[in-house]
Symmetry: C2
Subunit: 237 residues, 2 copies
């Protein structure tokens, strides 16, 4: 299943303005203004100027909060988005109770009690973003994320993403029984998405690399129903 562009000219528009370029502009702008995000409950609040607001919207990070101020715009980031901007792009500092969370260990210990599977969701989100996919919540489709080839205004999401622990650690997660597979695949089919399962494995025993992301490996599996017709040597159309 290829990308489903929204209307004429959407593909050309996307090609002319690659996501990687938008994100690196955003990164430079954030680093220049030494941007700080405030951790509040399960979200991170970010104060952006006009240029940054434009870049955040184009890169599809966070959700703008309605306010009357024309020069400053507040954004609400999910934990995965905050993690990515902070520890992969290293362009946002996260502040929790007036304390700067300097490394991922401090971030984990601050966030893990608030949400199960949080660790894996952050790693998976970063994995897809680093490949220039636009990633949004998949709760509408009963998955963790959906992944877009470019901005959701230009293209429909292509992948429904489930994030699972690798190496037989998947004790509480999804896809442990056939009925769950059948349910998920039928739903993905009906909304024209491919099911992508990301298994998150921790490398080594507590080895800490310069970037916390290098402590993990991500295994990608696309899951589709097997169609006997398509597997014949003389394939049908």
């Amino acid at each position: 299943m290829g990308p489903r562009w929204k209307g004429k000219g959407a593909e050309a528009k996307a090609l002319a303005d690659p996501m990687s370029k938008i994100v690196s502009q955003l990164r430079l702008s954030f680093i220049e203004s030494d941007l700080q995000g405030l951790l509040s409950g399960c979200i991170v609040l970010l104060e952006a100027n006009a240029e940054q607001t434009d870049l955040l919207n184009r890169a599809c990070f966070g959700r703008p909060i309605v306010n009357a101020d024309k020069d400053k715009q507040w954004f609400q980031l999910s934990m995965e988005e905050a993690f990515y901007l902070c520890f992969a792009l290293k362009c946002v500092k996260i502040i929790c109770n007036d304390k700067w969370l300097k490394n991922d260990e401090e971030f984990w210990s601050c966030m893990t009690p608030k949400r199960a599977n949080f660790h894996n969701l952050c790693i998976a989100y970063s994995h897809l973003r680093m490949k220039n996919w636009v990633v949004r919540s998949g709760s509408q489709f009963g998955v963790d994320f959906v992944a877009y080839r470019h901005h959701p205004a230009l293209v429909h999401s292509e992948y429904a993403v489930l994030v699972l622990s690798g190496k037989d650690e998947n004790t509480n997660g999804r896809l442990r029984v056939w009925s769950d597979f059948q349910c998920t695949l039928r739903l993905c089919g009906s909304v024209a998405k491919t099911l992508l399962v990301l298994y998150i494995n921790k490398n080594g025993n507590g080895v800490v690399f310069p970037s916390c992301l290098e402590n993990y490996s991500v295994e990608e599996r696309m899951i589709t129903r097997w169609n006997p017709e398509q597997s014949r040597e003389n394939g049908t159309k």
Copy 2:
């Protein structure tokens, strides 16, 4: 969500020919001819005469096997169907390797290694059938069963049924994470079915009642999305 009848006159037809009557006719006919089912792998094979074939089809049990013989028709029953006919209706004897399975313990020990959750599926199937629901496999919709108010030729299935172990024993099953709920409810909604979850509890410690079904209690829960509009005191239409 009420029943969705298939075309004009379907409801009247169903009312004129209640499922309970069809099943009790089938039961009498089976007892009279001392019917035996042969356990083969994960199915039970049944040889039916013309009258029994008609009753099996009308009550929607099993799947007829195509053959050339006009007087005799073979039927393939699922394990749940065989369990119900054998231990709830007590009108079929099940034979496994030339040995008659006299009680449910013998049946369990013969079948359990072949399929996980088999116990619970049989109890749930019987529970619904005893209330005169027609029960078929729900694998098409990623659930264990679908339940029809009458024969599937007359009405669409109303419930998508998931069978879970009760009392915190649900270690490997469905609906343990939010994304699974979201997925299942979205799919059920899109095919106009209500999600019915049956929790199977075992009563007492190994107490054996005259019928094995009395050893279990079934807890029914219907799951729907909460719609704030519908919960207001001055309800909308």
